[in-house]
């Protein structure tokens, strides 16, 4: 860890800052999430560092709690999409034949429908709760991960060491998790950084449209929605979540790049 590149330090710092804030939100936030503590759109002051929002809640507290919700949903959706997407993608590559055909064509079908429209349709017929949100997002994203994982695994599957494992009599589980997965990690990790940010944007978009996190719960997209009218009066409350999303996006990808550089070393990923 000695020769940490500066980009990785910056990325790690902001990423951990956001995640720590998300985890310890109730301890850090000066006020409750739905607590009305002042007037409408008060400017920043000692009591309210970022001012107050459209109905007089402390904006800093809303941002911290909002980050908690946004990051939690995005993380869970990313984990869900990567576990299902990569395992199914690997399985399709290893098993091949009609199993591969059926799964791949199904994924094509899902991918042919614009993600946002698909999500809006689903969320308008089922009750919008956080678990439902995570499942819908995870499912939609897993199609992208499936494509990538399958493409990578098809290449690895023809390597001699995989053939050697098959000749040894290893089952598919060993081939997928011990032979293919370690060698497919690099592109998947790179993709993960990107997918996580797409998940943040996606949940923010849904909330902005009113189909994501429901008030009075806070999330970054929701805060933009609540405060967007303020922009006309020169009040920047809606811009804070935008800045938060941007910095999180950049820092997470700096970390992903760094991890990628480490794992692509020829030394089996120790370098």
């Amino acid at each position: 860890m000695k020769n940490l590149p500066i980009a990785a330090v910056v990325g790690l710092f902001f990423t951990s800052l956001y995640f720590l804030m998300a985890i310890f939100a109730p301890l850090i936030a000066p006020y409750g999430v739905a607590e009305i503590v002042g007037g409408v759109w008060e400017p920043s002051s000692k009591e309210h560092l970022l001012g107050t929002d459209n109905i007089g809640r402390d904006l800093l507290s809303r941002m911290i709690y909002g980050g908690r919700t946004t990051i939690w949903i995005a993380t869970a959706a990313t984990i869900l999409s990567f576990t299902t997407g990569s395992i199914l993608g690997f399985a399709a590559a290893v098993i091949g034949g009609w199993v591969d055909q059926v799964m791949s064509r199904f994924v094509d079908l899902i991918m042919s429908i614009p993600t946002l429209i698909f999500a809006l349709v689903v969320l308008s017929v089922v009750p919008v709760t956080v678990p439902i949100l995570i499942i819908v997002m995870g499912f939609l994203d897993s199609t992208r991960v499936y494509r990538l994982a399958r493409a990578v695994a098809v290449d690895i599957n023809v390597m001699d060491y995989v053939e050697a494992a098959k000749l040894r009599g290893e089952g598919r589980v060993w081939v997928i998790f011990r032979e293919i997965l370690p060698n497919a990690l690099s592109p998947l990790v790179a993709e993960m950084g990107l997918r996580f940010i797409f998940a943040v944007l996606f949940v923010s978009t849904l909330s902005f449209l009113g189909l994501g996190v429901q008030p009075p719960e806070a999330d970054w997209g929701g805060i933009v929605k609540e405060n967007k009218d303020g922009i006309v009066y020169g009040i920047g409350a809606a811009l804070y979540p935008a800045v938060a999303i941007a910095t999180l996006a950049i820092s997470v990808n700096l970390v992903a790049d760094w991890v990628l550089n480490r794992t692509t070393s020829l030394k089996g990923g120790r370098g």
Binding site: A164, G169, E179, P182, N183, L266, K267, G268, R270, G271
Partner: protein, 545 residues
């Protein structure tokens, strides 16, 4: 003709290496090499991989590959030091005065352009010939190099000619601008033996007829002995020995040169066949899915316990397909495989764990045969765990035993494949198959990717292990020297059929069928004048022609 064309003095070449986890540092890879080359002469540069022979060859064009830098010394071409020349001067030199023939013609030709355009490009760009004259010269060279239909072959695309022909086209490309010096970088290494001989002959005659000087780079001393006047032996960037061909081959002074000359001289007594073969391939015919011709036609061979059956043939003869059929990766269309007294299921899925354990395989490319993310311990330990259920200290003890058997030792246990040399990688693969305590190991070209001395070590190890473990080898190779070294019986394959089969002595004694004769005579021998002798006595054209 006494004026020196190429004069290299105390040439030093450095490179930057990037050890994982450490700061990049500069190392020297060629330590002060000096030699002279007169017009019309051929100097052979010989050494194992990493000896610096290609690097020196490229330095004679004032070029260093990515990350490589010429750090000291002088390279004089036609009376001027090209290392001190400006870029414009060097540009005139490359492709004009000095040209280059690389190892892989297939990778060097642009697949989207016709051969003729590429052959004459340098001559036209350098203004040496008009397009018309250059084309006429190219046709002349095609004829001289023995290419079929010299008038029209230039209109073909690179994929429309064979590997040996493409290599000769590249020689034409190099000779077209009437250079003073041609650098041949392993021009025949990637070819089959029977094709190699044609290319060698063509190159040798072209050099003689055009009076060009050449640097001939190769790792095969027997090849270089056929074409060179002088030989420079290199090892790890140092000059080992520099002398005439005659002296190097017949009276080498240094130990290292002696080792290179005497390589492939393993003695192995043929064992007599036992009554009960461990593997019996009966009437096997196979084809790949989606094709309409048989790659294997009615193959019948036997392998006896503790012995070695060598399957020899050129690329495309079906020898690797035979291995795929035996391992169950490609179920045959007809025929049976008996193994250790039982019938083997045709498909891999139908075989018992015991079948799989007793039939192991070693691959040509040890690099891709090992998972780069597993340590040596995991790689060797997995079969122990999988077949014998060994765990913990018991497993560790057995891994150490196996590492000792392949002459490597416990220290390698936690290394990753990328941290091993080529020979060590192949040894680990051998240990992995031995771990299963097999009855048969299929060795698919296991020494082809290795340097001669390293390959020798691997062959000796395999022979020693055969004595200790009593394992039988099905040894697939295109290299007859290897076959002579280790086989008890031999099957010669040609276009999917076994054309000659029997004990080693029988197969290698006359009278020969035409193909076996061609194959046997094509193996370069370590003596002067061998090439001319062989060409004069040939009965059959090689398939690559």
């Amino acid at each position: 003709m006494s004026e020196t064309l190429l004069k290299v003095r105390d040439l030093k070449i450095g490179a930057t290496i990037y050890p994982p986890g450490e700061k990049p540092r500069d190392i020297e890879i060629v330590h002060g090499v000096s030699f002279d080359l007169e017009p019309g002469k051929v100097l052979g540069l010989i050494g194992e991989s990493g000896a610096g022979k290609s690097t020196i060859g490229l330095a004679s064009m004032a070029y260093g590959r990515g990350g490589v830098e010429i750090t000291g010394g002088e390279v004089w071409v036609n009376g001027r030091d090209i290392l001190k020349s400006g870029l414009n001067d060097v540009r005139k030199l490359r492709g004009g005065e000095v040209t280059y023939v690389s190892q892989s013609a297939a990778a060097s030709f642009n697949p989207a352009k016709q051969i003729m355009d590429q052959v004459i490009e340098a001559s036209v760009r350098h203004g040496k010939f008009s397009k018309k004259d250059a084309e006429a010269r190219a046709v002349e060279l095609f004829r001289k190099l023995g290419l079929p239909d010299p008038e029209n072959i230039g209109n073909r695309y690179p994929h429309q000619v064979s590997g040996g022909q493409l290599q000769r086209c590249m020689t034409a490309l190099a000779l077209c601008p009437e250079p003073d010096l041609v650098v041949f970088d392993e021009p025949t290494t990637a070819l089959d033996v029977t094709t190699q001989i044609d290319v060698l002959k063509a190159i040798k005659e072209a050099i003689r007829d055009t009076g060009v000087a050449a640097l001939y780079i190769t790792h095969d001393l027997a090849v270089v002995a056929q074409v060179s006047d002088d030989i420079l032996v290199l090892k790890m960037g140092d000059m080992v020995e520099y002398g005439s061909v005659d002296q190097i081959i017949n009276a080498p002074k240094e130990d290292y040169t002696r080792a290179l000359v005497s390589v492939r001289s393993i003695d192995h007594e043929e064992k007599t066949a036992t009554s009960e073969p461990v593997l019996k391939v009966e009437g096997v015919t196979a084809r790949y899915r989606g094709t309409n011709f048989d790659v294997l036609k009615n193959i019948n061979v036997e392998l006896h316990p503790g012995q070695t059956l060598a399957v020899v043939g050129e690329s495309g003869s079906g020898k690797s397909t035979l291995a795929r059929v035996i391992t169950g990766l490609l179920p045959p269309r007809a025929g049976n495989i008996h193994f250790a007294g039982r019938d083997l299921s045709a498909a891999l899925g139908g075989r018992s764990r015991e079948d799989l354990r007793e039939l192991q395989m070693i691959y040509q490319m040890a690099d891709t045969a090992m998972n780069p993310r597993q340590t040596v311990g995991t790689i060797i330990g997995r079969p122990l765990e999988f077949y014998f259920g060994l765990r913990g200290s018991e497993k560790r003890k057995r891994i150490v035993e196996l590492l000792d058997e392949i002459e490597m030792g416990e220290a390698f246990m936690d290394r990753y494949p990328a941290e091993l040399s080529g020979g060590q990688k192949q040894r680990v693969c051998i240990a992995r198959s031995l771990a299963a305590k097999p009855k048969i190991i299929i060795c698919d070209e296991v020494t082809s990717a290795l340097d001669p001395l390293v390959a020798d070590g691997i062959l000796k190890l395999l022979l020693d292990l055969q004595k200790v473990e009593d394992v039988a080898y099905l040894f697939i190779t295109h290299d007859l020297a290897t076959v002579k070294a280790i086989a008890d019986s031999i099957a010669v394959m040609y276009q999917g059929e076994v054309v000659r089969y029997g004990g080693k002595t029988d197969v290698l004694s006359p009278p020969f069928d035409d193909y076996t004769d061609l194959l046997l005579s094509s193996v370069p021998e370590m003596k002067l004048g061998w090439l001319e002798e062989v060409i004069a006595n040939r009965k059959m054209e090689s398939a690559g022609n």
